[in-house]
């Protein structure tokens, strides 16, 4: 490759980055795969705990988008907002600010396919950074509709 061609390629790269600007890209988000496997819980397993009346209930937080939460969410879960955005992280931090660090917390999103979810790893990291060690993440492979609602797991609606 000539020096001339390399220089053009570099310029195009810089141009692409500049044009990209505020347009979100996968690289902008920490991937869900960064969440430790030990922190994951399968939807069916978590649904089973919801039906076990004797089990202590964790704090359940939805960190996806409001319009999905309003249509369907896990009963008892609270909406805190998209953790990929600053507002969402702030609401999340405020919600857990007064909780003991050993509190059981379960977070879920399901806005997008797991590999491209912009919210779930951001939420997990925010809680981890605050010192919460008992955080579980519901592994939603496709989306909340497919992996939760369509499975017949308990569902509530409304904001």
């Amino acid at each position: 490759m000539s020096t001339h061609t390399s220089a053009i390629g570099a310029l195009l790269g810089v141009f692409t980055i500049l044009i990209g600007g505020a347009v979100p890209a996968l690289a902008d988000h920490k991937p869900a795969a960064s969440i430790p496997t030990a922190a994951l819980i399968q939807p069916a397993d978590f649904a089973a705990t919801l039906n076990a009346s004797a089990a202590p209930k964790p704090l359940i937080l939805q960190v996806g988008f409001r319009k999905a939460y309003a249509q369907a969410h896990i009963p008892g879960s609270e909406y805190v907002g998209a953790a990929s955005e600053e507002d969402g992280v702030q609401v999340l931090q405020q919600r857990v600010a007064k909780l003991p660090k050993d509190s059981a917390i379960v977070i879920y999103c399901g806005c997008c396919p797991w590999a491209k979810c912009p919210n779930i790893a951001a939420a997990y990291d925010a809680l981890h950074d605050l010192g919460f060690k008992n955080v579980k993440v519901i592994y939603i492979a496709d989306d909340f509709g497919t992996n939760w609602v369509d499975q017949g797991f308990p569902t509530a609606k409304g904001s």
């Binding site: 044009i19 600007g21 505020a22 347009v23 979100p24 890209a25 996968l26 988000h29 039906n51 009346s53 988008f65 409001r66 319009k67 999905a68 309003a70 249509q71 369907a72 009963p75 998209a82 990929s84 955005e85 399901g110 806005c111 997008c112 396919p113 491209k116 912009p118 496709d142 989306d143 909340f144 509709g145 497919t146 609602v149 369509d150 499975q151 017949g152 797991f153 308990p154 569902t155 509530a156 609606k157 904001s159």
Partner: protein, 163 residues
Amino acid sequence: MRSSRIAALALGLLLAGAAWALGPGDVAPDFALAGFNGKPLRLADYRGKLVLLNFWASWCVPCLEEMPRLSAWQRNYGAAGLQVIGVSMDDEAAPAKRLLAKQPVDYPIGLGDDKLGERYGGILGLPQSFLIDRRGLILARYKGEANLSQMEAAIKSQLEVPP
């Protein structure tokens, strides 16, 4: 306590079994949104065209990855009868409009809400698209990252069907 749990379970089953079943063969629910271009955006106005209805959001990476293809289809197949319509599921219009200023598309877009999502069988993950025939019947529902080559083949095939 027991009765409330039974009621919650019944509600869950009801939601899972009934409200989320919209799919091929069903009539696409009509809607009227305020288009980002300042014009009303009504599905019924496109009766007689093959419609690709795409739900998306500004923070949804796979949505943004497929939108340039959708825009190209509008340019390439619009004259043959295709109409792409975008519905943003962002909380507000502002972030979607900012995104579109940087990544414009060649089809109309409006802001949807949870009620519209429910009428379309639950828009609980993005992206999500519906291919709607010229009579207003749903031909296909694409959830998540669709195979765009297959989607384009379906569009081309449908455009060959006489109006």
